[in-house]
C-alpha cells in the first residue's frame, strides 16, 4: 500500500515549482476515493512537521506549497555554484584601454582608432562593471557621449590615480623598445 503522504512529498520535491492544493488533488483525480482538501492539508502539515532536523523545509508561498533548502543552510548550498570570474573579450579590453588612456573619448573616436565598430554590449558591460561612465557630451553633431574611467576602475586595477598608469612605451620596454616594432615595419616595406 502506497502512502498518500509519500506521493505528495515526491510530487512537491520533483515538481520544480510550488504546487497548489488543486495540483495535488489532480494527482489523485483517478482514485476511487480522492482525498479532499482537508485531508491534503493534514498531509501537508504532517510533512512540514517531519522536516524538523532535515536539510529542507516545506513552506507555503503565494502559488502553493514548496520544499526548499532550510534557510540556515542556504549559504552552504550556494557553494555549489561558485561562479568563475568572467573572461573579458579582446574587443572589450581594447575599448577600455582607449577610454582609460584617451579619456574623455567618444564612441566614434574609439571606433576610429580600433578600425571596427564598438558594440553597445561592450559599452554596457563596461558601465555595469562601473569601470567607465559618461562624463559629458562633445560639442559635435549628435552631441555624442564622452566616456571616462571611474574610481572603481582605479580600485579594481589597484591604482591610486591615473598618473600611476604605465605608459604604452613601458610595456614595450620589456621587449626592448627599439627592436620590437621595427623589423615588422621594414618587412612590410619590402613586401610592398
Amino acid at each position: 500500500m502506497i502512502e498518500r503522504k509519500a506521493i505528495i512529498e515526491a510530487a512537491l520535491m520533483a515538481a520544480g515549482r510550488p504546487l497548489a492544493l488543486e495540483d495535488l488533488q489532480r494527482l489523485f483525480a483517478e482514485d476511487p476515493a480522492p482525498p479532499d482538501a482537508a485531508a491534503l492539508r493534514a498531509d501537508l502539515e504532517a510533512l512540514a512537521a517531519e522536516c524538523a532536523g532535515r536539510g529542507y523545509e516545506l513552506v507555503e508561498v503565494a502559488s502553493g506549497w514548496r520544499y526548499q533548502v532550510r534557510r540556515e543552510l542556504g549559504h552552504w548550498v550556494l557553494r555549489l555554484w561558485e561562479e568563475k570570474p568572467p573572461r573579458l573579450s579582446r574587443a572589450l579590453l581594447e575599448t577600455l584601454a582607449l577610454i582609460v588612456y584617451r579619456q574623455p573619448i567618444t564612441r566614434a573616436e574609439i571606433e576610429q582608432v580600433r578600425g571596427v565598430s564598438v558594440s553597445s554590449n561592450i559599452i554596457r558591460t563596461l558601465e555595469e562593471l562601473e569601470w567607465i561612465r559618461v562624463v559629458g557630451r562633445k560639442e559635435a553633431p549628435g552631441r555624442p557621449a564622452l566616456y571616462a574611467s571611474t574610481r572603481k576602475f582605479l580600485d579594481d586595477f589597484n591604482l591610486k590615480s591615473l598618473a600611476d598608469l604605465p605608459s604604452l612605451a613601458e610595456f614595450t620596454e620589456e621587449a626592448e623598445v627599439v627592436q620590437l616594432p621595427l623589423p615588422e615595419v621594414q618587412g612590410d616595406a619590402e613586401r610592398s
Partner: protein
C-alpha cells in the same frame, strides 16, 4: 522465443520439410500474410530496414534462423517489397540490395552440392545468417535499453528550491598589463591596416618626425611617450606619430628612458652621456 529446441538437429532439414520449428518439420508455409491495408502500412513503416523485415518474416513463422528456407523467405520478402512500392512507401535502396543478395543466395543454393555437406562457411547463407544474428542481438539490446528506468520517464530527480543567490557576481580578473597589451594591439593593428594610406596623407612620416623632434627639443627632460599622440588627429595621426617615433629610434635620434621600474617612459633626444 528462440529456445534451445529451435536449434535444429544436424540431420537433414533441407528435404521436403521447409523448416523445422521446435523440432517439428514444417511442411506448409503459414499463409498469414494478409493484414488490413491501413495496418499493413503501419507495419511496413515500422521496419527498421531489410534485416528487420527478414527477421520479422523468420520469427513470425518460428523458423530457425540457422536454416532459413531461402526460396520461400525470398518470395515473401519480395511480396513485402512490392507492397511497399504499391503503397508508395519510401523504399530505401537497402531493401533492393537485400533482394538482390537473397536472389543470389537462392541461385547458389540451386547449384549441385557435394554429397557430404561440409562446413558451415560453405553454406551460401552463412554471411546472411551472421548479419541477421548480429542485428537481432542489437535489436534486443535496444529493447533492453528502453526497458531500463530512465530519467524523465521513470525517474524524477528532486528539485528542491535552492536559496536565492544574492552574492554579487564575481569581478573579472584583469590587470594593468592586460590593458596595456590591448592598447598596444590596437595601435599595432591600426599601423598595419593604415600603413599604405600614409603616403597619401598630408601627414607624412617625415613631417611628423620633424615635429616630434621639435617637441622633444623644447623639453629639457624629454616628454612622456603617450603625450606625443594627439587623439584629435584620429587613427591615422596616431599611426603616423608612431611610425615617426619608430623611424627616429631606428635612426638613433631619440631614446627612451624609464627612471623607475614600471614608471612612465620618457622620450628624449639621443646623444646624452651614455652614448659614445
Amino acid at each position: 522465443m528462440n529456445g534451445p529446441e529451435s536449434l535444429a538437429p544436424a540431420e537433414d532439414v533441407r528435404g521436403e520439410a521447409l523448416a523445422r520449428v521446435r523440432g517439428e518439420p514444417l511442411l506448409e508455409l503459414p499463409r498469414d500474410l494478409y493484414i488490413p491495408p491501413q495496418a499493413l502500412e503501419v507495419v511496413l513503416e515500422s521496419f527498421e530496414g531489410p534485416l528487420d523485415l527478414l527477421l520479422y518474416l523468420i520469427r513470425r513463422q518460428n523458423l530457425d534462423i540457422l536454416d532459413i528456407p531461402i526460396a520461400e523467405i525470398t518470395r515473401q520478402y519480395m511480396e513485402y517489397v512490392e507492397l511497399m512500392r504499391e503503397l508508395r512507401l519510401e523504399l530505401a535502396a537497402e531493401y533492393l540490395v537485400m533482394a538482390a543478395m537473397l536472389a543470389e543466395i537462392k541461385s547458389r543454393m540451386l547449384l549441385p552440392r557435394p554429397a557430404a555437406p561440409q562446413d558451415e562457411e560453405e553454406d551460401p547463407r552463412a554471411e546472411l545468417i551472421r548479419r541477421l544474428q548480429e542485428y537481432e542481438q542489437f535489436k534486443q539490446a535496444a529493447g533492453d535499453l528502453d526497458a531500463l528506468p530512465r530519467v524523465g520517464r521513470d525517474l524524477f530527480p528532486l528539485r528542491v528550491q535552492a536559496p536565492r543567490d544574492d552574492r554579487p557576481p564575481p569581478r573579472p580578473r584583469v590587470g594593468v598589463a592586460d590593458l596595456l597589451g590591448a592598447l598596444q594591439e590596437v595601435l599595432r593593428r591600426a599601423r598595419l591596416e593604415e600603413h599604405h594610406h600614409v603616403q597619401r596623407e598630408e601627414l607624412s612620416v617625415r613631417e611628423r618626425m620633424t615635429r616630434v623632434l621639435d617637441r622633444i627639443a623644447e623639453a629639457e627632460d624629454g616628454v612622456a611617450f603617450t603625450s606625443l599622440f594627439t587623439l584629435e588627429e584620429g587613427r591615422r595621426g596616431v599611426v603616423v606619430t608612431f611610425l615617426a617615433l619608430l623611424e627616429l629610434l631606428k635612426l638613433g635620434l631619440l631614446e627612451c628612458i624609464q627612471s623607475t621600474p614600471f614608471g612612465p617612459i620618457q622620450v628624449r633626444a639621443a646623444g646624452g652621456d651614455d652614448r659614445a
